[in-house]
Subunit: 215 residues, 4 copies
DNA sequence: CATGAATGAGTCTTCATTCAT
DNA sequence: AATGAATGAAGACTCATTCAT
């Protein structure tokens, strides 16, 4: 009753699926191109096999994105477990989302094509990302570091700008600048929050932050 | 030696240039496609002519974008003349930029392709947009409604998220939500700004704004 | 040691044979297509199974046609038993052959591909049809309604024109017109046949028939 | 005002058109296949050129058939000028139509695809053939050798059986047998025609003709 | 300068056929 | 025997690009 009971054929098929997905992801990342013939060659299978696994181009594209979104979404709980909500937010945005946005421009397209949630597979991906962001925001609202009336979609859209980063430049710095800008916009109004609550975040958030020392 | 002396040929050539640009813009807007043969037919010229005017696809694409960016940029001084800096900022973002981002996805591409300024024609377009945003920000800094350390690029990138709006949905509301979010992030820290400076902006910005009643 | 002893495997195999044949016939009739993969799916078996039963496309096609030709051939004795030779001829041509020719264009192709009798399986089908026609002609010669020097192949070829009928039009009327035309051509010369022998046939054959009453 | 005024480019284009048509006709005749790539190669042009001249497969097929039908139709007046109506009929059927039917199976397809006259290009071809046959029949009716109530379509359909001839066999003999059969069917009833009117035709029609012993 | 026919590389897509299980 | 995944050749079709007129 081991996994060995699975037919070798099945294993091969699964491996093919993986290889095709990997090849497609690579191609999409590298050039945005997605030629079935090319993918087949890169994956070391016949074109027919690619067609068998992914009948249409969309099926393939979405499978690729679904996989990446999954990664993106799965990391959220981990981040929240290991650090404070605001740090988790920053980390997710600058470390994870930014990287994805830059490399896989397809992801952004998915975001774009699929604003109508529930509609199709692309919608699922979008939803999943919104969920991830919602979780991060909720944790921060809980911690009092973010206003409760912030819509996850809006923040996500703002971070959509990460899409325009140039991987060859100082994308890290710019990702942080954008994240900070949005983060500031998400914060509760000063007068409403307990003094000191923001300290940590503020300190991280920007080196230029002026410490508002009260006597 | 007047301009009237321009040869008719010149006039034809200029007209061709325009027609090609128009056809390309239409095609780009409608379907995102940009087949030279199709453009030529739509413009009523031979393919060769298109090639003469725009040697490469990029040249054509960029010419189209440059034109749109121009519109976008030109409206800034007008907005600033007619209303307060913060209103001008909001108006530009939600009325002009959002509309362009949605319809002419090429604009977003320009933003993306051209982070490396000064480099090429795309760079010019990017620069022009950054300049426009800089102007808006400067006016607001002057008015004390925006922190002086805000980078135009960052804000623009944040607004890049407008690209993901769905023209068939409540894009207006969402554009405003995003603009507000960014706007909040751009504001000076409360303690730093002169009391009252934000009044107008705050009032517009959000209905939920806390009224800072002073005795 | 009865027939009941046949292994279940055998029964399955036979059933598969039938199902494949049925699926192929349906596909051929419906669209003229004959994709092995499709047939396999329609028959609910694997492609490999189709190959096992019919090693080549031709084998499959011919098996299908053979079956239909069989129907066509089997009906001849019945017709001859139930009606006069000339009526049997007309009935076979207009009711049975016409219908087959129209629906299963493959039949006609078989006729075409297989003029060389005895050559292959297609030849068998052709031969069978020639035999059927020969039987009909012989009966009519016997009855004195057809000249004895008529070749079955020739008549069959003439009826091959039924292939060109349009199932959506007045194919019945046209089938009758063609059959009548050929029938007239097959008749004995007037002077040779016993007066009156043709009466029945003539009356049926055409409303316009003039009865040559001799005083 | 010479033909030399035509641009050479035009001439080339026209030549290409011809070559493609020729290649297509050859391929159709030889194998019934009609692969654009193959045609292009055979015609010595690029695939694109073939597509430019004949946007769809049908356009190409029909152009080929139209050409052949034209030949077939054009020969009718010539035949009628040079010989008696009945000889013209026989000649057209056995010499011209048979040959075309056998070699260019496309012709038969035209017959088949286009029973609905006036409908499309295929319809035109069909019509043209019906016209040709009508002309032949009319001439024979005039001469008293054919009944006046014979429909050209019916005869043509009967001759459609020529399609099933095997070019490698005694197709000539069989074509004549079929033509004779139909011809007999087309004749006026004996009692109606002037004695002797049929002489020539009868004599030609069949060697087995009954010997008309005169005292 | 303008034209648009020609070219052909590159993709897409289907299917017959094989073969390991 | 049956299965169906894999393969890849073959044909369809598009479009960027050239070039003769």
């Amino acid at each position: 009753m081991t996994t060995g009971a699975v037919s070798p054929r099945r294993a091969d098929t699964r491996r093919n699926h993986e290889r095709i997905l990997a090849a497609a992801a690579a191609s999409l990342t590298a050039s945005g191109e997605l030629a079935f013939n090319t993918i087949a060659k890169a994956a070391g299978v016949g074109v027919g096999t690619v067609y068998r696994h992914f009948p249409t181009r969309d099926a393939l594209v979405l499978a690729v994105y679904a996989r990446e979104v999954e990664h993106l979404v799965d990391v959220v709980p981990v981040l929240l477990r290991e650090q404070s909500p605001q740090d988790a937010f920053h980390a997710w945005a600058t470390d994870h989302l930014a990287r994805y946005m830059m490399t896989k421009r397809g992801l952004a397209e998915a975001l774009h094509a699929a604003t109508k949630p529930h509609e199709d597979v692309a919608g699922k991906a979008y939803e999943a990302m919104v969920d991830a962001m919602s979780t991060l925001i909720a944790a921060n609202v809980q911690a009092g570091t973010v206003r409760p009336d912030i819509a996850a979609e809006t923040v996500l859209r703002g971070l959509g700008g990460l899409f325009f980063l140039d991987p060859r430049g100082d994308w890290r710095g710019e990702a942080e600048a954008l994240t900070d800008l949005l983060w500031r916009g998400m914060q509760p109004d000063r007068s409403e929050i307990a003094p000191g609550a923001l300290r940590g975040a503020e300190a991280r958030q920007s080196e230029r932050s002026i410490d508002p020392i009260y006597p």
